[in-house]
Every structure is written in structure tokens, then in C-alpha cells.
Amino acid sequence: MADVAAEQARPIERVRGAGLEKALPYLFLAPALLLVLAVIAYPMIRGFQISTEFYRFGRPLRSVGLDNYREAWHDKIFRAAVWTTIKYVFFAVLFETALGLGLAMLCVRELPFIRAVRLVLIVPMIVTPVIVGLVFRLMYASDVGLLTIVSHRLGGQEIGLLSGETSAFWAIVALDVWEWTPLMFLILLAGLQSMPQEPFEAAKVDGASSWRTFLDHTLPLLTPVLMVAVTLRLIDAIGTFDQIYVLTQGGPGTATRLISIYAYNTAFLFTQYGQAAAMLIMLLVMVMLLMVVAVRMMRRAAR
């Protein structure tokens, strides 16, 4: 047995020997496996189960099959939340990608600066999201907010971005862009810096314009990294909750009510766990479909 294992020079080992030595890797793995089962797999399965139950006052009354899904599907408020989420995610990620790419192209040649720039730019995205919400509260508030105070100074009116439906929506998009453009920037910068130099030197010799060089060489070479960055941002943006919860709670009206906010309220305000679970599973399915589509599209673009 040992000879066979030695012949196959693998980067990783076949489990060899007998008794304890053979069981050891599995023993190493066991605690982690148990935990992941308990905290991730079990709740997932229970989540599916809960989504088929009817709850009243926080207790399951009876199994209702797929009624919760049907109800959510026909629920106007849920549909509005889905639409708001799609708009929010689309515009936030679009602006972040464009700005991040622009910034990365701008900075790629400025190496002496880059450490300081990076140091500053990681701050918005690592600070606790709730505190980011607080920070923007201090900017947006209609009484003491920075915007209002500046406007007063200039002889203008109070600015209450969060009290108008349209302005509140764009205000939270702006927050997301402020918070996450740095991530796009850092990932794309890493991508740009690891590119091979030859195609660019060749393009220079050929006298190609910088715009052509960008389209012909930079973008195709950057696509895999861009794909990772956009996909991760899409996933995270769809689940945005904290900043909106502390800033607007989904209001005014339904202007900033994302699926996550609506599902949270359904579960923890109205104790309709079954319906909330059904909505969230639909959300999960959407996220997974989106991932598949995104990966496909970008693979095709890369070709």
C-alpha cells in the first residue's frame, strides 16, 4: 500500500497507515464539520422547512406547502421591494465599477503614492456598516446635517435628502458608492499591476491611441479580475441591510425598502417567519441565477 502511495507523487498525500494515523485527518476535520453543519447546513434546511409553514404569534400552526411563495409572489409590497433592490444594486455597482476602474487606471503609474492612498481608501469599507450609516446621518440630517448647514450658510433652505422618496433612494446609492468604490479600486488596481507588459509595449510601437489600447488590451486582460470584483459586489449589495436600517428603515414610504429590510420586518416585527423565509429563499435563488448569468456573460465577453 505504502509503495502505491509513494508512486503517485501527488501534491497532497493519500491517507496512509492504519488506525489513528489513518483517521487523523478526519479527526482534524470533525469539529469544523460539526460546526458548519450546525450553524450553516441545519439552518438552511430548517429555513426551507419554515418557508412552508404558516406562523401565528411566532408559532408554526400548520404546513401550507408553497402558499408562502405564492403569496409573496403576488404581494405588491414584495414586488416593489424586489424592484427597489434591483435598481439599487444596478446603479450602485455600475457607479462603483466605473469610478473604481477610472481611479485604478489613474493610479496605476503612481507607485510612490500608492501605499498612502491604499491606507486611506480601505477605511470606508472596513468601518462598521452601522457606523457608516451614522456618519451619513450626520451628513444628511435635515437639522444638523452638513448639507443643511452648508446650504444655510449659502442662504439656502434646509436639505432633507432622507425625507423625499427619490432623493432618499439616491442618497443610499451614494452611500454605497462612497463605501465600496475603494474595494473596486483596490481589486482592479491589483489586476492592472499584475498584467504582462508586452502587449502594451507592442501597442505603443504600433502607435495605437490610448483609448484603443484600453479597449484592445487592458479590458480583455482585466476581465477575469473585473468579473470577480463585480460578482462579489453584486452579492454583497443585494444583501445590504445595516446602513439602510439605521438611516431610513426602508422609508420614506417604500423608497428604500430593499428585500432584506422587508424580510426582516416580516420576520421580526410581524413574526411571519414562514413568509419571510419564503421571500429570502426566492432572493437566494435570484442571487444564484445572477451569479450564473454574470459568469456566463463575462466568459463570453472575454473570448
Binding site: 482534524f28 460546526l35 450553516i40 441545519y42 477605511v123 456598516p129 457606523i131 450609516g133 481589486i187 432584506s260
Partner: protein, 275 residues
């Protein structure tokens, strides 16, 4: 001169971008050091009559110390557990060919944890913790965070451990070490930078979590810093001074940690897809 001009423009753009990134935080710090009169008094870019009274109110009236204590205990215990459990598992996955496709499972689980909307997990967890009497306890949160972090630790450490040559620990084992002591004495010290980066990532994500802590706790017995901060924002009569002070104190530990780990930052945030 013609080459200089765009260069100056570039520097100005970069400075402007940095200002946009950092100014909101300065505004929070500024507000936290102002007296109430000055907060409403108009735009001043630094506190003209600096005071620490907002900070003392934060601790005396709003009991912010309790949130900090909860966060400290919950974050440190859960990160320590998940690092131990996760590194052992990562070692097994990085070094051995296991059955049932376990070697490939770590990435799938790590990605899944990232994709599942947090609330979807929270609803069943809420019902389960309620049954076990673990709602509104530090232990309940520790269990959940340990589980969520473990999948991330496994995935990150697997890639760090795979970079360490096997010969080193095999030599140690020839010299009489057991697998476990070789791991502890030889492999872990070599993997220390990766381990530290992973640890700090776990600290940041655990400390920053709001949704789970919000849903599963209800009093200062177990509420963490983000939940404490949100209760200050949610007040009908917002006291802006203490609220800003809470933001400053709450953000400080994370900023310090993040600056230490910044070199590994992109790798962690992209689950290792970009190094």
C-alpha cells in the same frame, strides 16, 4: 511644462478623492468633540470649544461600556475558537486526499456563506436559540460567529498552508515529532503571517456584524457595539454629540486592526481570488 501640468492635475485628483473618502469621518470626530450649541451652530471644520463631555455622557448615561465589553468577549472567544478549529481542518484539507470530495468543499461552503442572505440563517437560528434558552446571551452569539467564521478560516488557511513545503514538517516528524506537535512547532510558526491576517479578518467581520446581533439580542446583557450604536441613532430625540462619540469609539479598534492587515486586504475580501 507640458508634462508637468497633467501630473499636477493627477495629484490634485488623488488628493480630492482621499478628502472625499476621509472627510465624513473627520466630520463625525469633529461633531463628537463639539458642545451641543456648536453642533447646531453652523459649519465649523474643527471644534472651537472642544469638550469631552459627549464621551463621558456616552459611558455614564448610555452605558456604552457594556456594549464594548460584550463585543470584546464575543469577538475574542469566537475568533480564537474558529481559528483553532478552522486551522486544524484546513491542515487536513491541504495535506491529505480525503474522501467524499471534502477537499473541494471548503470553497463551496465559504462562497455559500457569503451568498446566503444573513436573515435566511437568522430566522431558524432565532427559533433554535429560543428553544435552548440562548437568546440574548453571549454564548449564543459566540456559537454562531464561530461557525460562520470557521468556513472562512478553513478556506483562507488552506491556501496559506498549501504554500508551505511538506518536507519541513516531514523532517520534524522523522526527528520524532508527532503530526500534531509538528503542526504546532513547525507549520504554524511558518504560517503565522497568514494566520494573523485571517484572524484580523475574522475580528473585523465579527465585530462589524449587525444583523445577527440585532436579531438575537435584546438587552445590554449581550448587545454588541453596532447594536448599541443603532439604539443611539434610533432615539426620537437624537443626541448628536454622544452619537458621534459612539461612532468614533466604535470605529477605532477596527481601523487600527485594518491598517495592520492592509497588505492582505484584497486577498481576504475576494476570498483569495485576487492576491
Amino acid at each position: 511644462v507640458s508634462a508637468r501640468l497633467p501630473r499636477i492635475g493627477l495629484y490634485l485628483t488623488i488628493v480630492l478623492i482621499l478628502a472625499v473618502a476621509i472627510f465624513p469621518f473627520w466630520w463625525m470626530l469633529d461633531t463628537s468633540l463639539k458642545q451641543p450649541v456648536d453642533i447646531f451652530g453652523g459649519v465649523t471644520l474643527y471644534p472651537h470649544h472642544p469638550t469631552t463631555s459627549n464621551y463621558s455622557r456616552l459611558f455614564d448615561v448610555y452605558h456604552f461600556g457594556a456594549y464594548l465589553e460584550n463585543s470584546l468577549i464575543i469577538v475574542s472567544v469566537s475568533v480564537a475558537f474558529s481559528l483553532t478549529i478552522g486551522t486544524l481542518a484546513a491542515y487536513a484539507l491541504a495535506r491529505f486526499q480525503l474522501r467524499f470530495g471534502l477537499n473541494q468543499s471548503a470553497l463551496v461552503v465559504a462562497l455559500l456563506v457569503r451568498m446566503i442572505p444573513g436573515i435566511l440563517l437568522v430566522i431558524p437560528l432565532y427559533i433554535t436559540l429560543a428553544r435552548w434558552g440562548l437568546l440574548n446571551t453571549r454564548l449564543g452569539l459566540i456559537l454562531i460567529y464561530t461557525g460562520l467564521n470557521t468556513s472562512f478560516v478553513i478556506w483562507m488557511m488552506q491556501s496559506f498552508l498549501a504554500e508551505i513545503p511538506r518536507d519541513i514538517e516531514e523532517a520534524a516528524m522523522v526527528d520524532g515529532d508527532s503530526r500534531l506537535t509538528a503542526l504546532w512547532r513547525v507549520v504554524i510558526p511558518l504560517a503565522a503571517p497568514g494566520l494573523a491576517a485571517t484572524a484580523i479578518f475574522c475580528v473585523i467581520t465579527t465585530y462589524n456584524d449587525f444583523l445577527i446581533a440585532l436579531s438575537l439580542t435584546s438587552t445590554t446583557q449581550a448587545q454588541t457595539v453596532p447594536v448599541g450604536v443603532s439604539t443611539l441613532i434610533g432615539k426620537i430625540q437624537i443626541e448628536y454629540g454622544p452619537m458621534a462619540a459612539a461612532g468614533v469609539i466604535g470605529a477605532l479598534p477596527i481601523v487600527i486592526f485594518a491598517l495592520i492587515v492592509q497588505r492582505h486586504f484584497v486577498r481576504g475580501l475576494t476570498l483569495g481570488a485576487v492576491k
